[in-house]
Assembly symmetry: C2
Homo-oligomer: 454 residues x 2
C-alpha cells in the first residue's frame, strides 16, 4: 500500500473519529484487511489508537494486533484494561501470542500471562522453550489430528466439531494415540473420497516430509518451496507430532531471511524493521560499525602503497590504474561470492562441493581475466598512450587479480559455512578489502620485475 | 539433497537397471518424491534416461518431467514415441505444459501440440498469450468455480464430481454465469458449515484480493506474503475469472526473483539454472561483459588521477589512502543502495518517497561520515605519523564521500524504478564506479586547497 493511501485512510479515520461517527468508523475498520490497516494504525497519534482499537470487532482486533510492531503493541497493551487484554490474547493464534511474549518486557509479559487462560498459558510456555529461529519457534500447536482407523465420515465429523480453532485443516495429520506421526491426509482427499466408510489410513500419505523442533527455520521454508507444501509437521526426537509450520509463515520467513542476507552481503547489520520505521539512530548503528571496521582494514592497502613509493615515483602512470585494478578485483570477487552464497542459501551448493567450486571458478576466472587483459592492453596502449611494458604489467595483474578474487570469492563463503559463520558476511565488502591488498602486491611486484625497478 | 545422496541413488538405480530388477526399480522410482528424483535423473547417462522414465508410473512420470531442465526434457521427448509423449502431456498441469512449450524449439513444440488433446491444446495456446513474467503467464486455468445460489450440499457434490483435476480446491471461486468473479469460499468453510442447505453466497468472502492478467508476477507473489493467501484469482479486464496462481508457484517465483536480484546486484547476468548445471561458457558469458563494462568505466578515475599527478608527486602520502577512500565510498553507497533496492522489492518503499529518502540518507550519512572522519584523523596522525593537514584532507574527503555515496545510493534505485529500469542493477558495482571518480575529485581538490598545491 502506498504512503498516499495510508495518508488518505488516516485522514478518513481521524475525520470519522472527530465527528464521533462511531458506527461508520467501525464499518471502515472492519472492511480493511488487517495487513492494510496496520500501517495506517501505526501512523496514528498514540492517543487515538486505543479508541480505534476498541471499536474493532474482536477477531479483527486480534488480527490487527498481530500485524503491529512490538513498540505499538506494548504502548497499546499499557492502555488496555485487563479484561480487554484477556480478550485480545484469547483471540490471538498460539504462535502469535508466543511471539508477543518474546518481544515484551518482563512487566508486560507478567500481565499478558496473568490474563491468558491456563491452557493458552501452558501453550505459550511450551512454545517459548524453542529458539526463535528454529522450527519449534515458528510452529503452531493448533493442528488437526486424526486416527488411522477412523472412517472418512468420522473424520469429517471430528473436523466439524474441532476444526474451527485450528490454524489449518487443509492438511490433517494421522497420529497414534501416543501422538506418533503416522502420515498426513489432505482435506481434499477426505472430501473427494468416493466411500465415506473408507478408513483414513487408506487415504493417508505415510512418511510425509517432516522436520524436528530444532531444524533451522530457513531450511524449513526451503522444504516448502522444494516440495510445494502447504504445511510441514514438526516432531520431537521420538517422532511425536508437536506442531505444524504453515506456508504463510514459511513465506514470511523466506522474505525475512533474504532481507537479512542482503543486509549482511552489503555490510549492514540486519534488522527486521521496514526502512521508514527505523529511527535515525538505528540506521546509524546498523551502518557505522561496519564502515569503520572496513575502513580500518584498508590500512593494509595503505601500507603496501607506502612500501612501494619508489616504484610509483619512478613510473607515475602506475598510480592512475590503482582504482581500476582494485575495483575489478572487487567486482570479480563479488560475482563469484554472491553466486556461491545464494547457492548455499537455496541448497544448490553444499560445503562438501569445495573442490568442484575451485575447479569451476578457476577456469571461469582465467577466461574472464584473459578477456579483460586483452581489452585492457589495447585500450591502455592505444587510447591512453601508455608504454607497452607498463600496459603489460597492468594486464598481467588483471589476470592474476580476477583469478585470485574469484577463487577467494568462491572459497570463503563455503569455509564460513563449514565453521558455522553465516556465509552472507563473506560478500563484496569483505572480499574487496581482502583483494585490494593482494592486488596491489601483485601489481607492484610485476612492475618491479618487468620494469626493472629497484 | 546433498551430492552424496544423489550419487548413492544413482549407483542404486544403475545397479538395479544392470541387474534387470525392473520391479524393484519401479518401486524405488515410485517411492521418491519427484523433486528428489529429478537431480538423480539429470545426472544419469542420457541413454539410461528413457528406460527409467518408462518404468515410472504415469503420474510420477509427469511429476518428474515437470521438474527436469529444458535440455533434459527435450532429449527425453526426442526418445519418446508419440503415444508416450501424449501420455506425459495429458498428465502435466496446464501451466507446466505451457512452460514446456515455451522452452522447446519449434519442431518439438509441433510434436507436443500434435499429441495434446484439443482441449489441452487450446488451454496451452491461451496461456501462451500472456508474457512469462505476468500473472497470466504464471496462472493455471484449473480452478474450481461454484455458483452463488448453490447450497453447500450441491457445492460439495460438484467438488466430488469435478474437483479431481483441479490444481487446488482448498479455495473455490464463486462466479456468475458469465464468469465474473463474485467472491471466494474456502473448502474449510464448506466442510465446517453447520447447515448443508446454506447457500454458498452466505459463506463466501466477497471482493477477494485479485490481480489482472498483466500484473507483474513478483507483485503477485508479494500479495501472497502480505495477506497469507493460498491462491490468488486472476481476472481479465472485465473482472472475469480466467485462472489462479497458487502459493507453491508464488514461492518459487519469490525465490527466482530474489536470485535474479542478487545476481544483478553483483554484476552477474541473471540465469535461473542451478550453479552446477551451468556450463563454463554460460558462467563466462554471465560475468565477463559486466566486468569489462565496469573496467572500462574506471577510465574516468584514471583520468582524474593523471590530471592531478603534480599533487600526488608533491605529497606522496596522498596515494596511500586512495584505495581506503574509494572503498569506503563504495561500501557506504552499497549500504544505502541495497537497503533501498530491497525496500522497493518488498514494497516498503515507493518511488514517490524520494524526498523522504534523501532527507533520511543525508542525515545518517553525515553521522556515519563524521564518525569515520574522527577515527580516521586520530589513526592517520598517531599511528601512520602523517602530518595533520594531510590527515585533515583525508578526513574531510571521508565526510563528503560518505554523504555523496549514500545520497547517490539512495536516489539511483528510485530513479531507475521511475524510468522503468530494474533498481537491482543500481547496486554496489555501478555505485562504486560512479563514486570512485567523484571521491578522487573531492580528495584532490581538498588537497590543493588545504595543502596549498599549485
Amino acid at each position: 500500500m502506498s504512503n498516499a493511501t495510508i495518508q488518505t485512510l488516516k485522514t478518513m479515520l481521524a475525520y470519522l473519529d472527530d465527528a464521533k461517527k462511531y458506527q461508520s468508523l467501525r464499518d471502515v475498520l472492519q472492511s480493511l484487511p488487517a495487513p492494510d490497516l496496520a500501517p495506517v494504525f501505526e501512523d496514528l497519534p498514540p492517543e487515538k489508537r486505543p479508541v480505534l482499537f476498541r471499536l474493532c470487532p474482536k477477531d479483527q482486533a486480534a488480527a490487527l494486533f498481530a500485524e503491529l510492531t512490538p513498540q505499538t503493541q506494548q504502548s497499546l497493551i499499557e492502555e488496555l484494561s485487563d479484561r480487554e487484554l484477556a480478550a485480545v490474547v484469547a483471540e490471538l493464534c498460539a504462535d502469535d501470542a508466543a511471539d508477543l511474549v518474546e518481544e515484551m518486557p518482563a512487566g508486560v509479559v507478567r500481565r499478558i500471562l496473568a490474563q491468558a487462560d491456563p491452557r493458552t498459558r501452558q501453550t505459550i510456555n511450551e512454545l517459548l522453550k524453542y529458539p526463535q529461529d528454529s522450527a519449534g519457534g515458528a510452529m503452531t500447536p493448533e493442528f488437526m489430528d486424526l486416527r488411522p482407523g477412523w472412517t472418512v465420515r468420522r473424520a469429517l465429523a471430528e473436523l466439524r466439531a474441532h476444526g474451527f480453532d485450528k490454524e489449518t485443516i487443509n492438511t490433517c495429520y494421522v497420529t497414534a494415540p501416543d501422538r506418533t506421526l503416522l502420515g498426513e491426509v489432505s482435506l481434499r482427499a477426505l472430501v473427494l473420497a468416493r466411500d465415506e466408510g473408507c478408513p483414513v489410513q487408506a487415504l493417508m500419505q505415510p512418511d510425509p516430509v517432516r522436520v524436528g523442533t530444532a531444524a533451522d527455520r530457513e531450511e524449513v521454508s526451503r522444504l516448502f518451496e522444494k516440495y510445494g507444501l502447504l504445511a510441514i509437521p514438526v516432531v520431537d526426537t521420538e517422532n511425536r507430532l508437536v506442531g505444524i509450520v504453515t506456508v504463510d509463515d514459511a513465506m514470511t520467513i523466506l522474505q525475512d531471511e533474504v532481507s537479512e542476507d542482503i543486509d549482511k552481503m552489503n555490510a549492514v547489520a540486519p534488522t527486521d524493521k521496514p526502512y521508514f520505521r527505523r529511527s535515525m539512530w538505528e540506521l546509524y548503528r546498523s551502518r557505522a560499525p561496519w564502515l569503520l571496521f572496513l575502513m580500518l582494514s584498508a590500512t593494509f592497502s595503505s601500507l603496501v602503497i607506502r612500501g612501494y613509493e619508489d616504484a610509483l615515483a619512478a613510473v607515475t602512470a602506475l598510480t592512475a590504474y590503482i582504482p581500476m585494478l582494485t575495483d575489478t578485483g572487487g567486482n570479480a570477487g563479488s560475482q563469484s561470492t554472491s553466486t556461491i552464497i545464494r547457492g548455499l542459501a537455496v541448497g544448490e551448493i553444499a560445503p562438501r562441493d569445495l573442490g568442484r567450486i575451485l575447479w569451476r571458478e578457476g577456469r571461469v576466472a582465467l577466461l574472464c581475466g584473459a578477456t579483460l587483459a586483452v581489452c585492457n592492453f589495447a585500450k591502455v596502449v592505444w587510447l591512453d598512450g601508455v608504454a607497452a611494458p607498463v600496459a603489460l604489467v597492468i594486464s598481467l595483474t588483471l589476470v592474476c587479480t580476477v583469478l585470485l578474487s574469484q577463487l577467494i570469492g568462491g572459497v570463503l563463503p563455503v569455509l564460513a559455512r563449514r565453521v558455522g559463520i553465516d556465509p552472507a558476511v563473506m560478500a563484496s565488502p569483505i572480499i574487496t578489502t581482502i583483494v585490494d591488498t593482494t592486488t596491489l602486491l601483485i601489481y607492484f611486484n610485476f612492475a618491479r620485475l618487468l620494469l626493472h625497478l629497484a
